[in-house]
Each structure stands twice: as structure tokens, then as C-alpha cells.
């Protein structure tokens, strides 16, 4: 009770500390006045009376301090004092302060921007309640660690597992033709088919209406209901609540809006936000594999399956359960499930297994952290140099009885302020970088569905920034603070040359230089390697012609064509286009090379080959093309023939494989004329009638097996029309439009553009941005290192001015002085280079394993980077060293 009361008294007096100070002053004055009067009465002279009175009273300042300590909140008061003092002393050296803040801002800004990337790609939790309980179930094969499940498999998993509070499934987000009323031209929007329990299991409460009912997902085609995404509802329906119950058209079929998802739920995807959700049972309306029956075929694997783990069930238990289930599948359906397992992934595991995007993020983050580290060592070096200038000030403080801890706190407060300012500026830079990611012309991914760039400066990133700032303040502030308070008072007060070089102290400084040199060498190597890696990728001959090509995509299912109508349409389209003036040749292909869509896979068994007992087939990626494809794309057929109009649905089935495939499966003989069987060894035999040159199919991928099937024998609904033009490909846009309109006015043309534009955006721009980013980091790192090295050597010179002066006076030649000063810099740079080489080599291994599967060591990178680094750093050391040789002994000795 008493202490509580005292606390409040302290709090109020903290507020009124000025008035209190005044009161004490007045009291003391009066006390002394009274005592003086008393002493005068006792017969002392007025002067002596006052002196005695003051002696009796004791140390006024000590009393004041004691009084103050009792009175207010000393800790807060000290901090306020420290901050005020630090601000004042920082203002006194504006140049240095600005430099430090900019340096830190660069480090923190780079790191925060890349952290936002890594966060989005790996860590950011799903936007649902209790996101950590959501796990992803994944089908695995010998060839793929991350495969989907089929509808039938999903039902079995849902019904036969006990580890989950519900198991959900969704198909990929796909392009859906949307029109708000009949007759309106459909526009392409992103729709996603989900299981009936999707919203319920995820725990997402619609902001309007309701989630799907389970019975709406039971009978194929029975319940055309749709739930809108929050953004779509806002933009398309102006947030109108009366949208509930309204009928909209998806791919020409009528759907009733039953709900709107909340703003907190933009969807479960990393890239892209679905505009609306439909039940899986409505699959007939959407783009499932038309070769298969979505609801029946166990190998029509198009679904991502996720579950919400029951409380108390471990990941291990869930894994065991699903492994047993996968084993049962294998026994029960050997034809389609042999060699196929299943695992359960956490969000982190799923995101780091599914694709390789995250690896870029991680590498960027490593590089950014290296920049931050260089920045911190740089600032530490600067503060260290400055602390020398302040050594006397600090010595005086210590001599007057300031506690060492108190001084360290004061100096750390200074660092904290620098870090805070640097952090703020860094956040601004981070915002800039993220904004730049978002800005339209930096990354134009040529997707038909708008891609949501998930990088954002949210509160998680801001929190990371704060953490980074504090961390860097400790990193760069602690060493100088510890050191500068450990001074020899006598020496420090005697002369300005405080810095009696103790071994320990020099060691710390040398470490700084070494760290800087090695870090920036690593950065430079990394950026060089990355640039070279991408460059290599870009320079690589793609194996086909990119110019004079116009592409445009069709999906007749958007307007409810059936399979026959679709194929009829393509046949007519190709025929009419061939007759169009300005068109040299015409091709249809399911996918374009280096496109955004994944190629389909094909499971097969080379005829006559003996499969291992746990394997029922091999897998390859494939494309469906028509007979004009190879000529139009300029892909050479090495042996055999191209597809012909005589390869029809009724003729024997044929394929063309690439050279890589042919070598892979027939290492000794010729693949030409051989057969493969589709799906498994009892499947349809297909003859290999041609071997094409291996081209580049996907970005940053090494050569791979590839199979082409003729469109006539393997009908596909969604195809890309490729036109080789005699002139500017853009001149063909209008003729294509006319032809399409003459066939069906309602059919949308998607992504009509010259292929070369697409290629540049797709294959060149992304890597170029990466190169720019990494190059910037490398450059910033180098600049910081140069500035740091220069500063440290210059500092060393100024510290040893007198010594050098004496040496010169005693007859040292300037070459001796140069050797003296430069020699040490040389050793440090040398050590730093060696360490940097080791780090760079480690990073190269990492990058090789993550991104560019080039293998081996890029000798050229080191051959360029190391000498450059060495030269630049030596120059940074040389300039101040040179200055040392001009030291005039007379002046140096008078220096103090």
C-alpha cells in the first residue's frame, strides 16, 4: 500500500519535476540563509558564516541527485535524458549521421523487401482461423513429390480417415467465362471448384449468404450455385447485397449466387485470388481433362486435398494413416496406383515442396542479410572511429563518476536512435521496392487471369523491420560502446592520443574489415553468378523461331461447345486462316513453349520394356499439336515425319518424341518405329513416327523428355492458335478476329499478342529484374565495403600521425610509410578475400542446388570478381595511405 502510494506520488512528481526542482532549490537556499544568520549571530563574519553554513549542509548536488532519485521515475528520466543527449550529439555531426542512416536504410530496406517476399512465399499463414491445423495431403510418385488426387481418391480420403475435422478439395483456379446476364459477351474471370465442405472446414463465415451445403456437392451437375470472392463482389456488383439469389452465367451455364466470401478470406492461393467458387459437382461445366471422366476415373488427378487436423492428432499419426490408405489404393487399383504413395505436409512443407519460387526468395533474403551485415559493420567502424574523438569526453565522464553501465546505455541509446531512423528510412525503401514489384510495367506476367503479387509490407514485415533495426543497433553499437568506455583514464585525460593499441582492440577493428571484404565479395560473387545463370538461360538457343508469330488462345467450352463442336471449330479455324493473305503457316497447340500453363503429363510404358515391380509406368510431359506445328514453330524433325492430315481419330495412333526422350528410352537403338503403350503395359500402343529436336520447354529447366500427340487423335478443348506471318504479326490480329467472328461471334479470343512480346515478358523480364535486384545488392555491398575500408584505413593513419611523423623524421622513405600503412590493409583484404571466396563458393553450391542446375564451379565469376574486389579495396586503402606519406614531421609532432 505504502509503495503503491509512493509510486503515484513519484509519477505525479515526475510530471511536475520542474516545479519540484525549483522547490528544492528554494528550500536549500532558505536553509542556508537561516544557518548563515545563525552563524552571524554567533559572531562569525558574513562570508565565513555562509561558508560554514554551506559546509554544514553538505554537497548540494549530491543532495539534489538523491532527492531526484527519490522523487520521480529515475529510469524514465534517464532515458529521456539519454535520448535528448544522443539527439544533440548526433545533430552535431550531421554528415556522419546522415551517412549512417542511409547505410542502415539500404540494409534494412533490402532485407524488409525480400522478407516480404519470403513471407508471402513460405511463412504467411492461411487466412483462416487456426491456420496451423490446415495440412495438405499430397500424392507422390517416383517422378513427382507433389501430385494431386483424383475425385474418387478424395472421396476415399475424406471418408476413410479419422485424423481430420474435415477434408476439403479444390481444383486449380481456372479461366471461366463470366457474364452477369444472358447475351452479354463473356469475360474471363478466375473460378475455383471446391468441395461442398470447403468453407465450413476452413472456418470461413461468408459475409453474405451462406457457404455451400454438402448436398450441393453430391450429384454431378445438379446444383449450379456459386459463392463470390470479396474483391469480385465489390468490383463487379458494387458491393450490392441484393446479389444473393441472382443468376449469373459461368461458361454459359446459369448459376445462382448463394454467398459472398469475407474480406478476410482472399483465398488459399499464394498467387491469385479466385473471383468465385463453384462446387466440385459442377465440374462438367468447367475445364477438367476431357480425356478422362472427372467423377469416375481414379487417375484423373486434378484436386488439391487439404484437411484440418483434429486437436491432439500429430502430423506423424496423420501421415501413417494416409500412408496405409495409399497402400490400400495400390492393392485395390494396381493399374492406376502402383508406386503411388501419399504424405501429409504442413503449410511450410507444402509451400517449399510444391514449386521452386520460394528458393529465389530465400536466396534474395540471404543476400539482403549480407548487405545488412555489411551495413552494420560499416556503421560499427564509423562509430568506433568517432568514439576515439569522444574518448576524452567519455574519460571525463568516467572520472566524474559516471557508471560504466550508464555510459554504455547512453551510447547504445545513440545507436538505437540511429537504427530507428535508419529503420524508418529502410521501411520507406522497402515500400518503394514492393511498390515497384506491384507496378504494372515491372513484371507483366502474361497470364489471362490477373496475378496477385503477394508481396506486401504488412504488419508482419513491419515487425521484422523493427526487429532488424534493434538487432542492427546492438550489432553495430555494442562493440564501440563497450570499447570506448574501457579507457585508461590517466592516459585519456593526459593527451588526445587515447588509443593505446591494445591487442584486443585492434583485433576487433580488423575483424570489421575482414567481415566487410568477405561479405561484399560473397555478394558480388552471388550477383555475378545469378546474372550469369540467367544470362546463360536467356542466351541458350531455345530451339525454335520466336519472331513473326501471332498467338491467340481459345476455349470453346466457355460458350458450352461440346467435344465435336470444339474440334469442328478448330478445323475450320485452321482452314480459314491458311487461306488468309499474310499468313505463311498455321498451327494449333495446347501449350506454347515457355508459357505459364503447366504441360500435361502422359503416363506410358515403352513397348517391350520390363517395368520394376513397384512401377506401372513412366511419366513425361506432353503437348497436343496439329500437323502445322513443327513447320510454324521452326522445330526441326530430325528423323521420321511430322504429323499429317492422314493421322485421324480412326487411323493408328502416333506420337512424335523429342531427341532427349528417344535417347533416354532407347539409348542404343533408334526410337523411330518403336511403340509406347499409354498408361500401363496393357494400354493402347502408339507408334513413334518422328523424333524432333529438343527445344526449351520451360524456364530455367534443363532439357527434358517431351511427347507430342496429334490433335486429331487426342482432342483438347483449349488450344492456342499460332500464325506465322509474312510481315508484322500484329497485322494479322484483325483478320483473325474476322475469321473467328464468322465462325462464332460469342467466342472470346484470349491473350492475342505476338509471341515475341510474350517471350520477352515471360522469359526475359523476370530474370532481368532478378539480375537487377541482385546486382544492386552486390553494388551496394561493394560501395559500403569500400567506404568502410577507406574509413578504417584513414582512421588508422590519423591515429598514427605522430608515429608516422617520427618515422619520417627519423628518415623513413615514403615507400616505407606506404608499406607500413598499406601492408596491414593488404593482409586484411587478403584474409577477407579468402573467407569471401569460401562463402561465395558455399553460396554457389546452394544456388546450384536451388536454381541453376549447372553443376561445377563458375571459374569466370571468381576470375572477374576477385581481382575487381581486390583492386577496389586496395584503392580504398591506398588513398589514405598515400596521404600518410605526405605527413610533415614538424606538423605531426606538433599535432597535439
Amino acid at each position: 500500500m505504502k509503495s503503491l502510494r509512493r509510486f503515484f506520488a513519484r509519477l505525479t512528481s515526475f510530471m511536475a519535476r520542474r516545479a519540484q526542482d525549483e522547490r528544492l532549490r528554494e528550500e536549500i537556499e532558505e536553509h542556508i540563509a537561516l544557518q548563515t544568520a545563525e552563524n552571524i549571530r554567533a559572531g562569525l563574519s558574513p562570508v565565513e558564516a555562509r561558508r560554514q553554513a554551506m559546509l554544514k549542509f553538505g554537497g548540494v548536488e549530491a543532495i539534489k541527485q538523491d532527492y531526484r532519485a527519490r522523487r520521480g521515475l529515475p529510469f524514465v528520466e534517464n532515458v529521456v535524458q539519454d535520448v535528448r543527449f544522443a539527439l544533440r550529439s548526433l545533430r552535431r555531426t550531421p554528415g556522419l549521421t546522415t551517412f549512417v542512416i542511409i547505410t542502415l536504410a539500404l540494409g534494412i530496406g533490402m532485407t524488409s523487401a525480400t522478407f516480404s517476399m519470403v513471407d508471402a512465399l513460405i511463412f504467411r499463414p492461411y487466412p483462416v482461423p487456426h491456420p496451423s491445423a490446415i495440412v495438405t495431403l499430397v500424392s507422390t510418385t517416383h517422378d513427382s513429390p507433389f501430385d494431386d488426387f483424383s475425385y474418387r481418391e478424395y472421396l476415399d480420403i475424406r471418408d476413410k480417415t479419422n485424423s481430420y475435422d474435415g477434408v476439403i478439395a479444390n481444383a486449380d483456379m481456372e479461366a471461366v467465362g463470366f457474364s452477369s446476364e444472358p447475351g452479354a459477351t463473356p469475360r474471363i474471370k478466375g473460378g475455383m471448384m471446391v468441395s461442398g465442405n470447403y468453407f465450413h472446414v476452413l472456418g470461413v463465415e461468408p459475409r453474405l449468404g451462406r457457404g455451400f451445403r454438402e448436398d450441393e456437392d453430391q450429384v454431378p451437375g445438379r446444383n449450379p450455385v456459386v459463392i463470390l470472392g470479396p474483391d469480385f463482389w465489390r468490383h463487379e456488383f458494387a458491393s450490392n447485397p441484393s446479389v444473393l439469389g441472382k443468376t449469373i452465367l459461368l461458361n454459359g451455364a446459369k448459376f445462382t449466387v448463394v454467398g459472398v466470401a469475407p474480406d478476410s478470406f482472399p483465398g488459399m492461393l499464394t498467387f491469385g485470388h479466385p473471383d468465385f467458387y463453384m462446387p466440385l459437382a459442377m465440374a462438367p461445366v468447367f475445364s477438367t481433362n476431357i480425356q478422362k471422366n472427372f467423377f469416375e476415373d481414379r487417375d484423373d488427378r486434378e484436386l488439391t486435398v487439404q484437411g484440418r487436423l483434429k486437436p491432439g492428432i500429430s502430423l506423424e499419426q496423420a501421415r501413417n494413416e494416409v500412408a496405409v490408405l495409399a497402400k490400400n489404393f495400390e492393392d485395390e487399383y494396381p493399374n492406376v496406383n502402383r508406386g503411388r504413395g501419399a504424405v501429409v505436409f504442413t503449410q511450410f512443407q507444402a509451400r517449399t515442396t510444391e514449386d521452386d519460387n520460394w528458393k529465389f526468395g530465400v536466396i534474395f533474403l540471404i543476400l539482403a542479410l549480407a548487405v545488412l551485415l555489411v551495413a552494420c559493420t560499416n556503421v560499427a567502424g564509423l562509430l568506433l572511429s568517432r568514439s576515439r574523438a569522444r574518448a576524452r569526453e567519455i574519460a571525463v565522464r568516467l572520472a566524474l563518476g559516471a557508471g560504466r553501465l550508464r555510459l554504455i546505455r547512453l551510447l547504445l541509446t545513440e545507436s538505437m536512435i540511429l537504427a530507428t531512423l535508419g529503420g524508418l528510412a529502410g521501411i520507406a525503401i522497402g515500400y518503394g521496392v514492393v511498390e515497384w514489384f506491384h507496378s504494372k510495367d515491372s513484371i507483366v506476367f502474361a497470364t489471362e487471369l490477373p496475378m496477385a503479387i503477394p508481396f506486401q509490407m504488412d504488419k508482419r514485415v513491419l515487425l521484422a523491420c523493427v526487429g532488424l533495426s534493434v538487432l542492427s543497433a546492438v550489432l553495430f553499437g555494442l562493440a564501440p560502446a563497450l570499447q570506448s568506455t574501457r579507457v585508461d583514464l590517466v592516459n585519456a585525460l593526459k593527451s588526445a592520443d587515447v588509443d593505446v593499441p591494445g591487442r584486443k582492440r585492434l583485433w576487433g577493428r580488423n575483424m570489421l574489415v575482414i567481415a566487410q571484404v568477405s561479405m561484399s565479395l560473397m555478394l558480388l560473387t552471388a550477383s555475378f553468378l545469378m546474372a550469369r545463370g540467367f544470362q546463360h538461360d536467356l542466351m541458350q538457343n531455345t530451339g525454335f523461331t520466336k519472331d513473326h508469330l501471332l498467338m491467340t488462345k481459345f476455349d470453346p467450352r466457355l460458350i458450352q461447345y461440346n467435344a465435336t463442336q470444339t474440334q469442328q471449330f478448330y478445323k475450320l479455324l485452321a482452314e480459314r486462316m491458311r487461306e488468309t493473305p499474310g499468313v505463311q503457316s498455321v498451327a494449333l497447340t495446347q501449350n506454347i513453349p515457355l508459357g505459364n500453363d503447366d504441360f500435361d503429363g502422359v503416363a506410358f510404358v515403352p513397348d517391350g520394356s520390363q517395368m520394376a515391380p513397384d512401377r506401372s509406368n513412366f511419366n513425361s510431359v506432353m503437348d497436343t499439336v496439329d500437323e502445322g506445328y513443327f513447320a510454324t514453330m521452326g522445330i526441326p524433325i530430325l528423323r521420321g515425319r511430322t504429323f499429317l492430315p492422314t493421322d485421324t481419330a480412326d487411323s493408328p495412333r502416333v506420337v512424335i518424341v523429342n531427341e532427349h526422350f528417344a535417347r533416354h528410352y532407347w539409348p542404343s537403338g533408334d526410337a523411330l518405329g518403336k511403340h509406347i503403350r499409354l498408361d500401363n503395359s496393357a494400354g493402347t500402343p502408339v507408334e513413334i513416327v518422328g523424333v524432333s529436336q529438343t527445344i526449351k520447354y520451360q524456364n530455367t529447366q534443363s532439357p527434358m523428355d517431351f511427347v507430342y500427340m496429334p490433335l486429331a487423335q487426342h482432342p483438347v478443348a483449349r488450344m492456342v492458335l499460332m500464325l506465322r506471318s509474312t510481315g508484322d504479326p500484329l497485322q494479322l490480329v484483325q483478320p483473325v478476329k474476322d475469321v473467328v467472328r464468322s465462325l462464332d461471334t460469342n467466342l472470346p479470343m484470349l491473350q492475342t499478342r505476338p509471341y515475341e512480346d510474350f517471350y520477352v515478358n515471360q522469359a526475359v523480364k523476370g530474370p532481368r529484374i532478378a539480375i537487377d535486384l541482385v546486382g544492386t545488392m552486390g553494388l551496394v555491398g561493394l560501395l559500403l565495403a569500400v567506404a568502410g575500408l577507406y574509413g578504417l584505413v584513414a582512421y588508422n593513419v590519423s591515429r598514427r600521425t605522430r608515429e608516422i611523423g617520427i618515422r619520417i623524421a627519423l628518415g623513413a622513405a615514403s615507400s616505407d610509410v606506404l608499406r607500413l600503412v598499406l601492408g596491414k590493409g593488404l593482409v586484411l583484404v587478403g584474409v577477407g578475400t579468402v573467407i569471401g571466396l569460401v562463402l561465395g563458393f558455399g553460396l554457389e553450391q546452394l544456388m546450384n542446388s536451388m536454381l541453376f542446375d549447372s553443376g561445377g564451379v563458375d571459374v569466370l565469376a571468381y576470375a572477374v570478381v576477385v581481382p575487381v574486389m581486390f583492386l577496389v579495396t586496395m584503392l580504398a586503402a591506398y588513398v589514405p595511405a598515400r596521404r600518410a606519406t605526405h605527413i610533415a614531421p614538424t606538423q605531426a609532432l606538433r599535432y597535439e
Binding site: K2, E30, L34, D66
Partner: protein, 117 residues
């Protein structure tokens, strides 16, 4: 550490002396209190007079005394302290404590070997 304890004890006793002084003499200013303690203790307590002020502040914060401005003998502004009801209670309790402690200690000093056997 040792010096700190000593001052703590000193401040503890000083506080008690302040309370007693105010109890006996009523309202006094800081100098008056210091004089009085000096007189009674016969300069045995040769403390710096200034140390009195932090003690006064502590007592005021605890509510044992209160203060207001008034005019001193010099006819100048001075801060006058007086005991509160709370302070009187505290004084009583502490006086009792002190007497008890003193009695016990005294008995120990008087004790002879046979008394303890």
C-alpha cells in the same frame, strides 16, 4: 554495500527523529527540524544537514507529513512541514517498535553469564 546499509539505518532513524520532532514541536521548516535534531542529539549525529531533505520527501510521499509554504523568521518563503494523522500513527507504531527493540537489546547487554546458563 556496507555503506549503503549504514545510510539506510541512518535514514530510518533520521525519519523517526523527524517524526518525533514534528510531533513535539508542531509545524517546522527544514532548517528548524535540522537544528532541533542537532540540539537533541548533541552533535552526535554529524550528518550533512542536506540529507534531511530526501528524507522529508520520502515521508511526504508516504503521507506521514505534509508541507506548505509559509514565512520564515527571515520573513522569506520557506516550506513548513507538519505531522499528519497517518504520521502520528506511524510514529506511535515505530516508537513502540523502537522501545521494544531497545529493551530487548538492552536486556542482552545487561545479561550475565549465569543468566544464560
Amino acid at each position: 554495500m556496507a555503506t549503503k546499509q549504514k545510510t539506510d539505518v541512518l535514514q530510518g532513524t533520521l525519519a523517526l527523529m523527524v517524526l518525533k520532532t514534528l510531533d513535539v514541536l508542531g509545524t517546522l521548516h527544514g532548517y528548524g527540524i535540522a537544528r532541533r535534531i542537532e540540539q537533541i542529539s548533541g552533535d552526535l549525529l554529524s550528518v550533512n544537514q542536506g540529507t534531511l531533505y530526501p528524507v522529508l520527501l520520502k515521508l511526504e510521499q508516504e503521507g506521514a507529513i505534509e508541507s506548505e509554504w509559509g514565512a520564515s523568521e527571515n520573513n522569506r518563503r520557506a516550506r513548513f512541514y507538519k505531522l499528519t494523522k497517518e504520521g502520528r500513527k506511524q510514529l506511535q507504531a515505530e516508537t513502540q517498535d523502537w522501545e521494544q527493540t531497545a529493551a530487548i537489546i538492552g536486556r542482552f547487554f545487561e545479561a550475565k553469564a549465569e543468566d544464560l546458563s
